[in-house]
Symmetry: C2
Subunit: 396 residues, 2 copies
């Protein structure tokens, strides 16, 4: 394989590349239906893309009632790397130019081990994917980290849960290691991008994507583009007050959403309930594993454990309380709920919905779907691939 280095020379070419990425192989004629260019001009730009090698001929298409058209597609050997670093695990995936996942590895890993250790893992996972023959190099990589990022530079800033990463030049370091362009973003933003690209948010311009994992964050999409805020911390809703004078939070305040509901908080509350003898189901599981997680709570609730169910409902209420405010403020066209805790499924969703529909303005909730993400654990890596492909498929 040989790596592609060319970039689209103008906005038309960029547009065409994205159409081929999102729509798959396509004929000149079909592309022409979508781009508002004369056939002549379109042919010229496609020919130029063929010259660069970004696009290749792909045989003849079926006839639409006349001469059969010559299909073109993105180069089949293009490869993107998507990396999603969570608080407690890492996902690495290889995609083709159409952002289809060709291979995907997940590994538990504590982000607090610091950038150097984490990078070692990421690189060894990458090596494994390469060794399996899916790629012998990458044309671009996207990487998500669980904290705020100064987006233009690709550097984490003051990340609360990953202190050692502050100012670490993630973009530069990874770019050097992989020998390809790299873009860095918050993991929540990448989840939103993923759901927008291939999930439930495909047709919505303005939406929120709430990720409930170890912590809680919210991806904000405005007019189809991720909004990152002035310092890159937009969507950091974990420390919005959900319960006045509530539980103390690591941030120093009380009643933060994250202190009341998140993977960590739920595990803590479950252990507490088990110890207090409130839930035989949870106690049983605690004894078996020595620890509890959202999965245990979900299983207990499914088994009819009232305490577990109440924990989920209570968390949904807190989350819904905060989301209700955001919905009134932002008036989104869709709210996506994702992250590890979504294993709690319908019970959680129902509690959130109830709270939001009760508290937000009717005009804002009137036609507002609140749904679970569709892509599960792959949303992040797809979003990462989408991030870098958006970058590469834009005029140089």
């Amino acid at each position: 394989m040989r790596r592609m280095t060319a970039r689209p020379a103008n906005s038309h070419q960029a547009r065409l590349l994205r159409l081929l990425r999102d729509g798959g192989p396509n004929s000149r004629a079909q592309l022409g239906d979508q781009v508002d260019l004369s056939r002549s001009k379109l042919a010229v730009e496609v020919d130029r893309l063929l010259e660069t090698g970004l696009v290749v001929a792909d045989g003849l298409a079926a006839s639409r009632g006349g001469r059969r058209s010559h299909n073109v597609r993105l180069h089949p050997e293009l490869r993107f790397l998507g990396v999603d670093i969570g608080a407690t695990s890492v996902d690495v995936a290889v995609t083709n130019a159409e952002l289809e996942i060709l291979g995907h590895i997940n590994q538990p890993l504590d982000v607090r081990e610091g950038p150097v250790a984490v990078f070692e893992h990421v690189l060894s996972m990458t090596a494994k994917l390469r060794a399996s023959g899916l790629a012998d190099g990458f044309d671009g990589a996207g990487i998500g980290v669980p904290g705020p990022v100064r987006f233009p530079e690709g550097v984490p800033v003051a990340p609360p849960i990953m202190p050692g990463w502050d100012g670490f030049p993630v973009r530069e370091a990874l770019s050097q290691e992989l020998g390809c362009p790299v873009m860095v973003d918050n993991d929540v933003n990448l989840m939103a991008l993923g759901e927008q690209h291939a999930g439930v948010a495909r047709t919505v311009a303005d939406f929120l994507c709430v990720k409930i994992g170890t912590g809680i964050g919210c991806g904000i999409v405005v007019g189809g583009a991720v909004y990152r805020g002035t310092t890159g911390s937009a969507g950091d809703i974990g420390h919005i007050q959900a319960v006045p004078d509530g539980r103390p939070c690591a941030c120093g305040n009380r009643g933060c959403l994250e202190a009341h509901f998140s993977g960590a908080a739920l595990a803590r509350d479950a252990v507490e309930a088990a110890r207090q003898g409130l839930s035989p189901e949870l106690a049983h599981r605690l004894e078996a594993n020595g620890a509890l997680s959202a999965v245990d709570v979900a299983a207990a609730a499914a088994a009819g454990d009232a305490t577990a169910l109440e924990l989920i409902r209570e968390g949904g209420r807190s989350t819904g309380q905060v989301i209700a405010g955001l919905v009134s403020f932002f008036n989104p066209g869709l709210v996506v709920i994702g992250g590890g805790v979504t294993g709690l499924g319908h019970n959680l969703l129902a509690a959130i919905r109830t709270q939001v529909y009760r508290q937000s303005l009717p005009l804002a909730t009137g036609n507002l779907p609140i749904v679970l993400g569709e892509l599960g654990p792959t949303a992040g890596v797809i979003g990462a691939a989408r991030l870098i492909s958006d970058h590469l498929f834009s005029p140089a």
Copy 2:
């Protein structure tokens, strides 16, 4: 005078018109410094604008060390009308093409009288302005209403405080009466536009503009453009819960921000305090006027009345509580506080700041100014003029 009907023919002309609007009279050479066009092309576009009559010659500029340049400016007879309909009063102003206010009238008026009655007032105020010789017609008008608007059509939707207006074709009706293009928006959005154009937010891309008047709303500016949400209700923060299990609100919930702090709530609390004998100052003023408003509370606080001061602080805390959440979520570069209640001045601002800086994330508040609006009651009408001029100064 004769009205201008031409529109810019392309994006260059639109750009030039906006530069002349925001920078005043300017020479071709100076314009060239700002637009990244060759002098030849620039001259062609300026000549075309001169032909349309949108732009006129304006004498010679001072020398910059060589040949003196010929200035051009927007046609001096262009007139925009800015209308700001509040809950309890109406502002109407005439501006020139540079959006400088040439005349401004304010009149108390209850918006609940309905669109027909309000329009009658607006038109008679407009007639007064025309009679004073400031304009004999308008090239465009912007109008703000205190409720959500379906922006593309210029029609209020389900406005809680102005029930009779639901679905009333404001844009069409006013356009017909005035014989010029009209754009309609939420009054809060227009305040944000005004502060962006000529006030404190001139250089900020992403900011929030919180307007505390009879109700409370928030203008959202993303990347320099007003964000309106999916159904036009974005920024409607008056019914976000500020105090759990707090005061009952007209919307049916409890503890809404508006129920705890707004012009209406403050007046209610002040009367209550006066009646309970907690505040001699307020009681005195209540007896004198038969009613109390934010102005009275401000005066009482300034006179050292502890109860009045506490009312302000308490309101600031509630408001700050909600803003803190929005700041964490939105990560703005600036928060502007405006509206009638800003007469409460520094005490209010200090309470809001304290609460926000305490509750929001350090990264989001680190370099975040929270300031009072600069334009006071003229922000709305300037924003209205800006709205229509943005529309007219964009390619047809």
